[in-house]
Point group: C2
Chain length 472, copies 2
């Protein structure tokens, strides 16, 4: 039987907090350039699919991440569809939407539901496993990619093996087991259980019928959300009202634990779910003291540690097994063993209203990014980076005037009914209340320093009059 066409359904809507302060709600871990060459795991996931057996991917993500997802796809040369979830609904709804869309593209298609925040370095082995699992999926099984355990981990769910299937390493899946205690995990290892990686292959029509049987309201919500979806620039916006009817349930609970058609394939590729900082330490190249040092870092008498700094000189003296991550506005110091508790730390900080818990200092926008570099009573200073052809919305402020100094590139600035070009080493003044727009008409990025002066410099004092990126 020839391999069916595989349509990747890339799940990129999550918001992991255990890699804080790098991963935050406004820019979660799948989009962070964690890997060599400044690649994100989202990009590495897409690049791993470069093979004729895989059709253009369907990326399912949150509205908030649409521009970063589009930009990262463009940057790594991958074309595909970007589907926007109006709110977070867990994996069953996302996979249902993916199955509906895949089935519309090709009723015989096999869907590959893929996490975008996992690390797999042997792409060839991954593709080969997918093709083999796809053959079983085409025959009506819902296949899970299982990871042969290296140790009795209590951090993963396990897959219980059943009868052998036609592909080597493939078996029926008899039971899903939640994260077990150590004793049970040890027993599972002896009995040939695999770790549940959360990556699945299924014929679109199989998934639709399984959903119809086990989670009909999720399927109904997904179908209606796709039916009433709205094109917005290059994005497909799912209908909010319909999508909201899907319950917040994982595909494991909704389908996998209930279906009679579950199978599993023992992966032949390496795998990490990059759960917390300790796994980053694990996967990165280390020096002679087993340290991973990234950015301006100096250590003495320090071993088995991860030190990562964006910008600030970061130093460690006389400590073993620690994680130190320094960004421009937040520093994390943790014992390697407690790195999973960063999640609790972030929850606690969110509860007490610390903006650093969920927002990055550098804010990405469709036109580029901005970053606060100084703030005081009645003033704020920002560094603004506008991409080639990028333009900010036509806007005005009620409480602040702005001084823009161009330090690189050229700005096209509209102030009320006048348009001027501002070049490197030139400045322009925008009085309170004026209507203005900033555009980069040139061939290199525009960098400017914005000095805001006024009684209130909050981000919400923007009245958007017009926006090419269709933002509200």
């Amino acid at each position: 039987m020839p391999s069916p066409k595989i349509i990747p359904l890339v799940m990129a809507g999550g918001a992991g907090t255990r890699l804080w302060p790098l991963s935050r709600d406004t820019m979660p871990k799948q989009f962070i350039p964690l890997l060599a060459g400044g690649l994100s795991t989202f990009q590495a996931t897409l690049q791993r699919l470069a093979d004729p057996a895989f059709d253009a991917p369907i990326v399912i993500t949150n509205t908030d991440f649409r521009f970063i997802a589009a930009e990262q796809m463009l940057a790594c040369g991958v074309e595909g569809e970007i589907v926007l979830e109006p709110e977070r609904r867990d994996s069953a709804a996302a996979i249902a939407v993916g199955a509906v869309l895949a089935s519309r593209r090709d009723p015989e298609a096999v869907g590959l539901a893929l996490a975008s925040d996992h690390l797999i370095t042997d792409a060839a082995a991954f593709r080969s496993d997918c093709k083999r699992a796809a053959r079983l999926a085409a025959a009506g099984l819902v296949m899970t990619l299982g990871i042969p355990p290296t140790h009795p981990s209590t951090a993963y769910g396990y897959l219980a093996p059943g009868a052998e299937l036609a592909e080597p390493g493939a078996r029926r899946l008899t039971r899903f087991v939640e994260k077990p205690k150590l004793e049970l995990a040890t027993q599972y290892l002896a009995e040939g259980y695999l770790w549940n990686s959360g990556n699945f292959l299924f014929a679109a029509k199989t998934m639709l019928s399984e959903l119809a049987r086990h989670a009909p309201e999720v399927l109904e919500a997904a179908e209606a959300a796709v039916e009433k979806a709205r094109r917005d620039l290059d994005f497909l916006r799912l209908d909010p009202e319909s999508f909201a009817r899907a319950s917040k349930i994982s595909i494991d609970y909704a389908v996998m634990e209930r279906t009679d058609s579950a199978g599993m394939l023992a992966a032949s590729f390496d795998w990490s779910d990059i759960g917390a900082w300790d796994s980053i330490h694990e996967i990165k190249p280390k020096d002679g003291d087993d340290n991973v040092l990234e950015g301006p870092a100096v250590v003495i008498d320090t071993h088995r540690s991860l030190v990562r700094s964006d910008e600030m000189l970061t130093t460690v003296v006389g400590l073993d097994d620690v994680v130190v991550v320094a960004t421009r506005d937040a520093v994390l110091v943790a014992s390697m063993a407690a790195s999973g508790k960063v999640k609790n730390l972030v929850e606690q900080m969110k509860a007490s209203g610390r903006p650093e818990a969920s927002e990055h200092l550098r804010i990405y926008r469709p036109w580029g990014w901005y970053q606060r570099i100084d703030i005081g009573t009645r003033f704020q200073v920002k560094h603004i980076h506008v991409k080639e052809a990028g333009q900010l919305s036509l806007q005005k402020h009620f409480h602040r005037a702005e001084h823009w100094v161009v330090v690189s590139g050229t700005a096209e600035v509209t102030v009320d009914d006048r348009t001027v070009f501002v070049h490197e080493n030139e400045s322009v003044y925008l009085p309170i209340g004026c209507t203005h727009r900033l555009k980069n008409p040139g061939k290199i990025p525009l960098e400017l320093i914005e000095v805001q002066v006024g009684s209130y410099t909050g981000e919400d004092d923007i009245v958007r009059i017009e926006d090419i990126y269709a933002r509200n």
Copy 2:
């Protein structure tokens, strides 16, 4: 016998590195606002002398620290003389200069050589001890303030007790002992030895005759350096050529270990030399988990630790006995036990040319301060703070233009032969090569954002044409 007049000789020229990143060569620990109320130990040392028995202090410091010393004295309302050492020469030369100056002020004076980086909270006990020691000093003894040991420390030198003297707790000092091994330290405790605090009282004339006998070249150099000293604004600049002839030797080696007139008084006050971060943890109020948290700090599962942050949100998860100090450009993470090794870290970073090892991001000047807030190719942004009546030198740059935006206060700006007033929310442009001066003519601090654009934005591209603070 009435108490003689005591002239404090405050030693403030040191450059401790063990409190890095707070203490750096450009702003060493004695001037850092480490104490409650934002006070430095230098200021606390001066305030401790508020008693008619003490004459106006003579502060002996390095040329580099003259403005910060003057400003901190002004801020805490203490008047005194500031004597500038052209280079670092250790304590014998400084005390020799102090003795010469004290003796000129009053031939019968008792000098009190005081470290400016020690912490003593019971000021009344300190003053009372000084007065009692001063009576013995007036009678010809060189008195050391000894600290009754609380434990057999191997970090301090010890004073060996001899015959009792006329004041309670005072004895002849028979021997100075260098930092001992633990066994010896334990033995010293049993035998009534005291820690050497490095604070001395002596009749000026006694010190001069002891120096003449045991270190004549130091005395000669000090006398000539004072003789040929030059008044510069409010400072007394010692003659560089003469001062350079004094050998780099401590007063302990030069005089105390050789004199027949040494005495010691057991201090009745509490004392810390704030040697390293562990002693900061020791002296500060702690929370229920024995943590000292200063600035924006959040910790979970953390005990007996010190977390101090100037600005960035700084977090610790699951660690005990650590020191975390975050400044805007550098982060230190150390085990409490290894905090003394920060000295080695700083040496290593200096050797590899890291500017953060010795320079602060905020640079203090006689007119106020400036701080880099952003830097990139061909540009740099600074926040500049000019004190009331402060003015920068008349200057020009060969490689950069500057844009100044006033965000608070008023600036008087001279550009070539034109002078303009620039108010809040106004800006001024300074083209490359223009001669310019910035002045704060107002009654509140002037805050401005300076955007530099040009091929080179290094601090050494300043041609100073005229300067009210007599800087080169």
